[in-house]
Each structure stands twice: as C-alpha cells, then as structure tokens.
Amino acid sequence: MGLGSINWLKYSSPTTFYPLAGRMIPWLAGVTVILLLVGLYLSFFVAPSDYQQGEAYRIMFIHVPAAWMSMFIYLVMAVYAGLGQVMNTRLSSMMATALAPTGAMFTFLALWTGALWGKPMWGAYWVWDARLTSELILLFLYIGFMSLQAAIDDPRRASRAGALLALVGAINIPIIYFSVQWWNTLHQGASISFDQAPSMAATMLAAMLVMTLAFWTYTAAVVLARVRCEILERERHSDWVAKLLESES
C-alpha cells in the first residue's frame, strides 16, 4: 500500500487520532532517548573545545536547538490555530493548546542557558541584546496564550479565543523582532554580534543537528501525549471514550 492510498484526513478526527498517537508515542520517546544520548555524547566528548570560549561554549548544544524550537513551535501553533479557525477541526485547536507549554518551556530553556553562557562570555547574565529581548517577548506571548486558555472555562470558546490570539501574535512576531533589533542598534552598538558565525568544526555541527533532532522527537512525543489527555477531557461525554475506558478497565 503506497502512501498515497492512505486517507490522511481520517486522522483529523480525535476518534481515530487517539489510538494512532498512542502507538506513536513509545517510538518517538525511544528515538528521543537514543538521539539525546548520541547528541550529548557528541557534545561533551567528541566536539573539540573552542579555542576562544573554552569548554563553556558546550551549553550552545542545548541553547541553540532550544531557541530554534521555541520559535518553530509558535509557528506550528499558529498554523494549527489557523487550521482550526478555517476548517473548524476540533483536533487542530487541541494541538495548538498542547504545543504551547512545550514551546514556553523551550523559550525559558533558551533564555536560561543563554544567561549561563553569557556570564563567562560577556561577564553578565543578561544583556539587552535584540535576540534576547525578542525571545523574552516570545515567552510573554506564550504565557499570554496559556493564561487566556486557562481563564476561559468553556473549552470551545477557550480554543477559539486562543487560536485568534496565536494568529495575532504570529502577525506581530516579525514586527516585534525587527523593532527590537532596530531599538537595539539605535541605543548602542550591540556589544556582541552573532552575525559573523565562526566556522564550526564538523563534529560540532553534527552534535548540534543531533540535539535538534532529539528536541524535535521529544516535542512530538510530549505533545502527542498531552493532546491525548486533551482529547479525553473534551470528548469525555462521547460514546467512543466511554467504550475505550470500559475496554481498558
């Protein structure tokens, strides 16, 4: 059976997606563990120490993938939110809800590891660099999204309100990013510029890519687990959930 002959839209229904997600989680989790082990081994033992930054640069192997994921997840969240608004599919908005905590976690992780890296490199935990500041604002956007959904009791209204907010935020992110960059260059020259990326050793690049893949599969596994809970919670009055719980107990 080729890929084309599978009806992919079938899985946009929570009823069919729930067991599929359940089957995928162990695989994704296993791959995450393997990738993490390989990635961490590469980052700590194989990658050479940087001649300027010494050993402290190794936190980049977590910092950079986390920063990538933080922005990427918001984008995915906005796409799901848009799909939910346009196609009115229940699962899309549930996915957006499930993605937000992981995105916020990666944003926080990127900020935290950035601070730990900044202390030995810049001599300060925090500088008002354009990237740091926009990452901080991204964290605020995630927190706003989650608190809006938490504050509304009706899950249908919560997901629709959250979707609209995610879309408004997604339109704003480029504007915020460029305005912050502008603000930074106008106030003072950036103390450290990331623009001239030093050429990386091949093993460093490999370690970073493996870590990025590990974060991807981690995100997928965690989000699927969270969306399963979300499905059960929202569909608890439906027949298929009742049957499922009966067969499991």
């Binding site: 706003g144 608190s147 809006l148 504050a151 629709r160 609209l164 504007i175 305005s179 106008l186």
Partner: protein, 227 residues
C-alpha cells in the same frame, strides 16, 4: 450596503459612545490622572536631577501612556457587554468591523487624546526641550490610536473572563512593544539630533496596519466571546 450607510453607522456609534463618556466624565479623568501620577512617581523614585530625568523622560512618558491606555481598555466593551447592547450590535445588519471602528475611535477620543494633550506638560516637568515636546506630542498622536486599536483585540478576547484586567495586560502589553520602541525612539532620536523621520514612518506604518487588521480581529474576537 451603500457607502453612506457604512459611514453613518460609524458616526452613529461614535456619537453614542461619546455621549455616554461625557455623561460619565469621572472615568475619563481617572485615566488622565493615572497618567499624571505614574509620571510624577518617577522623579520621586529616580531623584530630582534634571539631567537624569531628561534622559529617561521619553521612555517614562511613553510607558505611562501605555499603562494608562491599557487601564482605559477595561471599559471599552465591558459596559455594553453587561447591559446586553453588545449582543444587539452583533445582530445589526451593519458589519461589526465598522461598529468596532466607531467604538475604538470614540474610545481613543476620550482616553487617548487627553494623554496627547497632557504629555507636553509632563515632559516639561521632566526637562524636555520645546522641540522634543513637539515630537513627543506627535508620536503620541500616532501611537495612542494604534494602542487603542491593538488593545481592542485583547479587550474583546477577555470579555467576561475571570481575572480580566491582569489577563488583558498580559495579552496586550507584548503587542505594544513596537509602538513603544518607535514612539520613545523618535523622541530620543530628535533629542540626540539624529532626526525622527524614520521612526515616524514606522509608527505610521504600525498605525495603518492596526487600522486595517485590528478591527477585523476585534470583531472576530467579539463573536467568539459572545457565543
């Protein structure tokens, strides 16, 4: 619907909201005094040296204006929501986007415009020069309507939600960042002699974008909230 019909819908909404605001002047004055008080707190916290105050003045006035306009957002839809007139507005044949535009315009006239008029006085207290005061007023004139428009989305999304004011601040303040940067930046650029034209263009661009998209998003948010 004819063009005059659309325009008259906006104007009628504007008149209604302005009448309501005039009959409750205390709300308007409260926002204005909040603005004055927040700005006055800074010299008390930072110290009375005019050199220091002059440096932070554009940022202080702008952040205070931001908070004041956030405070005023609470009332944008909540009264109409409570007495049910918002529901009637959703049912009218006029597009909700236009009604929202009328409401936001009225809201800006009673909460944003007074801030623009009051700003030079506060800027003077903080030691800004006459030229800088003019730029400050002009940026606020462009920035406050943009903030009212962007804030309306947050106000509509949080209608009838618990812990509304804090939540609204959480949603709206990050979206105000570009307005703040270009607004305060223009004043600083003109003080340092760099020229504020670029900032003005960008602030204008933000206002135009907000004018086009914010009423649409607000109307969608109102429909979600009123379901």
């Amino acid at each position: 619907m004819s063009q005059t019909g659309a325009l008259s819908a906006i104007i009628r909404m504007l008149k209604r909201d302005l009448t309501l605001a005039v009959r409750r002047m205390s709300d308007v004055l409260a926002t204005l005094f909040f603005f004055v008080i927040v700005v006055s707190l800074f010299p008390l916290g930072v110290g009375p040296e005019l050199e220091t105050l002059r440096i932070i003045a554009p940022g202080v006035v702008w952040v205070a204006a931001l908070l004041a306009s956030l405070l005023a957002l609470d009332r944008l839809f909540s009264d109409d929501y409570r007495d049910g007139s918002l529901e009637q507005m959703l049912l009218t044949p006029q597009p909700l986007t236009l009604l929202v535009l009328g409401k936001v315009t009225a809201h800006w006239m009673v909460s944003g415009a007074p801030l623009v008029l009051m700003a030079p006085l506060l800027g003077m207290q903080l030691g800004l020069s006459w030229d800088a005061l003019q730029v400050l007023m002009a940026t606020l004139l462009l920035g406050t309507p943009a903030m009212s428009l962007i804030g309306a989305v947050g106000a509509a999304l949080t209608l009838g939600v618990r812990g509304r004011s804090v939540l609204m601040a959480l949603l709206v303040l990050p979206l105000y960042v570009p307005v703040l940067i270009f607004g305060a930046g223009a004043v600083e650029a003109s003080i340092s002699g760099l020229g504020a034209e670029a900032h003005f263009s960008l602030l204008g661009a933000v206002l135009v974008l907000a004018l086009v998209f914010a009423p649409l998003a607000t109307a969608a948010a109102l429909r979600i909230s009123m379901e």
